[in-house]
Symmetry: C2
C-alpha cells in the first residue's frame, strides 16, 4: 500500500504511491501515449466505473445507470486508501504514516466534449454543490485533516482523461502550501484582528488594477506576486472560511464567475491547459486534535480558488528554489483578460 | 525594469520580469517554436554573445575569440539587473524591491552536441570550477543574498537552447525552498549540535537502500521523501557548508559522480530532461546584515545538489498544495539506477 513520507529538510509530505504497479522502466521516454478511444465517463458507460458515491440525477433514473448530470465516483487508481489507521511511526531520521485518505472523481458532465466554457451556470453550480456535499461528508472522518478539491484541464496540466472531471482527495495532513497561507492569515489576525484576505481584497478592489472581473459575491483578480502569467485567484467578497457552507445562491455566483474566467482564458489564450485548486479551511474534526488553533479560524481564514493556466514551461530554477520568474506583470494580464470580449 | 514582489500569503518572492518585452498575446498556444539553426554558444560565434566574464582558455587565445573550454557570459535577457539599489518599499499590503541581481550563462563546452555524459571528468570539473569562481566573485557584492547555480537540460526541463549551458543568478533574497532547508538544519543543530545532513548521510550510507553511487568524497542517493521518480541528491560525504570553497580534488570527485549519474539516467531513461540545482550557503556578506544566524552556519549547513529528471507531468494537485505524488519508491529507483550498466 502507498505511504506518506515526510522530508525533514524540505518539510513536506510526499505520497509514495507504489501500488499503481509502475516499474521504473515505465518512464522510458519513447512510450506511446495511451489512446482514448473508449471513455468510461460518458453517459451509458456507467458499468465501466466504480459504483457512484453521489450523483445529480433525473427523478426516474437509478444509481449507476444513465440519466445523471454530475456523478462522483471513487478513483479507480487512488493515491490514498480509505481503510485502516495512520500508524504514525519514525523510520530512522524520518517520519512515516500509511497512505490513508480518499480519492474521488467528479465527472462534471455526461457529454464527452463539454467543459465549463460550454456549460450553463446552473450546471456548473451543480458541480460546485457536489464539491460542498462531498467535503461535508468526508469531514465526518476525523482521520482526514484536509479535503482537497482540484481540476486539471488539458494534457498540459496533467489531465489523463479529456472528459471534463475534477478530483477530491482527503488527506491526513494539511498541504504545506495551504499551511503557509493559514499561518500568514493567523499572524495577520493576531496583529490586527482582521482577515488578511479581506484586507487584500479591499485594497485590490479599491485600486482596480489587478481585478479581472467581479459579480455581486465574488471577485477574480491577478495576485500582486503572481507566479505565472494569467494566474487568477477567485475569492468570495464576503468573509467566509468554509467553502462547504456556501449557499445555493453563493454557488450560482461562483459558477457565473468561473464560467466567465474560463471563457476569457479560452478566448485570449486559445484553450490553455489550467489547474484549478480550492484552498479551503482544514477539517475541524481532524486538525483540531493536533493543535489549538481552531478557535480563530472562522475569523482569520478566507477560502479562495487558485486558477493557473499552464502556458510557460517550468524550469529547474523554479523547482529548485521556489522563486518563479513571471514574464507578464499581473496588472497587464488582468487588463488583457478584463478587456477580452467573450 | 523588472521587480521582485513578495506575496504576503504564500510568503514567496516573485520576479516580475516585464522587460523581456513579451505581450500577453505572446502566449497564444499556436505559436511556432523558435528554430535553432544558429547557435551563439558554439565556438567561432563568440562575437554574437555579450563579452565574456570568465573563460578557461588555451594560453595563446584571446578573450571573446575561439580557443576556450568553458565560457561565462552575462545573460542576454537577464531576469535581474546588476546596476542600482534595491529600494525596498511597501506597496499597500505588499512588499516590493527592484529587480537587482546578476544573471550569467555558463557555456559548458565549445561543441554543440556535447553534454556531461560525453565530457571527460576533467572537463566537467572545469565547469564546477567556473561555478566556484563566479560564486566567490558575486559574493563580494553585499546586495546579493544568494548565488544560485542551476542547469536545465532538455526542452522538458525548460532549456531554451540545446547547447550545453548552465546559469548563475545572484539574488537579493534567499530562495524560500533553500530558506526552509536552512531553518530545518539550524533547528536540528540547536537540538543536537550535529549537522542534519551529516546525520542523514550516515543513516543512508549505513542502510544502503537509497544509495545510487558513492566515490571517495561524494554520495548520490534517492531522498527518503523523493517528490519525483529518480530524484537524486548529491552531497559531499565530508561536512562542508560552502561549495565555493571546494578544492580541485573535491571538484574532480564531484565531476566524476555527476558524469556517472547522468550516464545512468541517460541509459535507463533515454536521455530524460532534468534540472540540476545547487543548494549552497547564502552569501555571508549579504545575509548576515539581516539576521544574526550566521554564527553557526559553518556547522549546521551542508551544501548539496538536487538533480531531478522531469519525466512525469506536474499536475494542478502538486502546484496547488506542495504535496507531490511520486509513483516510484525511492528505494526502487535507487536500485534501478545502481544496477544499470554504463
Amino acid at each position: 500500500m502507498s505511504e506518506l513520507r515526510h522530508d525533514p529538510i524540505q518539510r513536506r509530505w510526499v505520497i509514495i504511491a507504489t501500488e499503481r504497479g509502475l516499474n521504473p522502466t515505465h518512464f522510458h521516454m519513447d512510450k506511446e501515449s495511451s489512446s482514448e478511444a473508449f471513455c468510461p465517463f460518458c453517459e451509458g458507460n456507467e458499468d465501466k466505473t466504480p459504483k457512484e458515491i453521489y450523483a445529480v440525477r433525473q427523478p426516474e433514473s437509478t444509481a449507476d445507470g444513465p440519466g445523471w448530470r454530475v456523478r462522483v465516483l471513487p478513483n479507480k487508481f487512488p493515491a490514498l486508501r480509505i481503510e485502516g489507521d495512520l500508524e504514525r511511526k519514525g523510520v530512522g531520521y524520518y517520519d512515516n504514516m500509511r497512505g490513508i485518505g480518499a480519492h474521488e472523481v467528479v465527472v462534471e458532465t455526461p457529454f464527452h466534449n463539454e467543459d465549463w466554457a460550454d456549460m450553463s451556470v446552473a450546471n456548473i453550480s451543480k458541480i460546485m454543490q457536489a464539491y460542498t456535499l462531498r467535503i461535508q461528508d468526508l469531514c465526518n472522518d476525523s482521520r482526514f485533516r484536509y479535503i482537497l478539491v482540484f481540476k486539471n484541464y488539458g494534457k498540459g496540466a496533467g489531465a489523463s482523461l479529456s472528459h471534463a472531471h475534477s478530483q477530491i482527495i482527503a488527506l491526513p495532513v494539511t498541504p504545506i502550501n495551504v499551511a503557509v497561507e493559514l499561518n500568514s492569515a493567523k499572524e495577520h489576525y493576531h496583529l490586527k484582528e482582521r482577515c488578511l484576505f479581506c484586507d487584500i481584497l479591499q485594497y485590490e478592489i479599491q485600486s482596480g488594477d489587478r481585478i479581472i472581473r467581479m459579480n455581486e459575491r465574488f471577485v477574480a483578480y491577478a495576485p500582486y506576486a503572481s507566479r505565472f502569467p494569467f494566474e487568477t485567484w477567485i475569492s468570495p467578497r464576503y468573509h467566509s472560511y468554509d467553502f462547504a457552507q456556501s449557499s445555493a445562491t453563493d454557488l450560482t455566483y461562483l459558477a457565473e464567475i468561473l464560467k466567465d474566467i474560463v471563457m476569457r482564458l479560452n478566448r485570449s489564450l486559445n484553450q490553455p491547459p489550467y489547474s484549478f485548486v480550492l484552498h479551503n479551511t482544514p477539517n475541524i474534526r481532524g486538525e483540531k486534535k493536533r493543535i489549538n488553533w481552531w478557535e480563530t479560524i472562522r475569523y482569520d481564514w478566507h477560502w479562495h480558488i487558485e486558477l493557473t493556466p499552464k502556458i510557460t514551461p517550468i524550469a529547474g530554477f523554479e523547482w529548485g528554489t521556489g522563486i518563479y520568474i513571471n514574464p507578464v506583470a499581473p496588472e497587464k494580464a488582468a487588463k488583457y483578460l478584463r478587456e477580452v470580449e467573450i
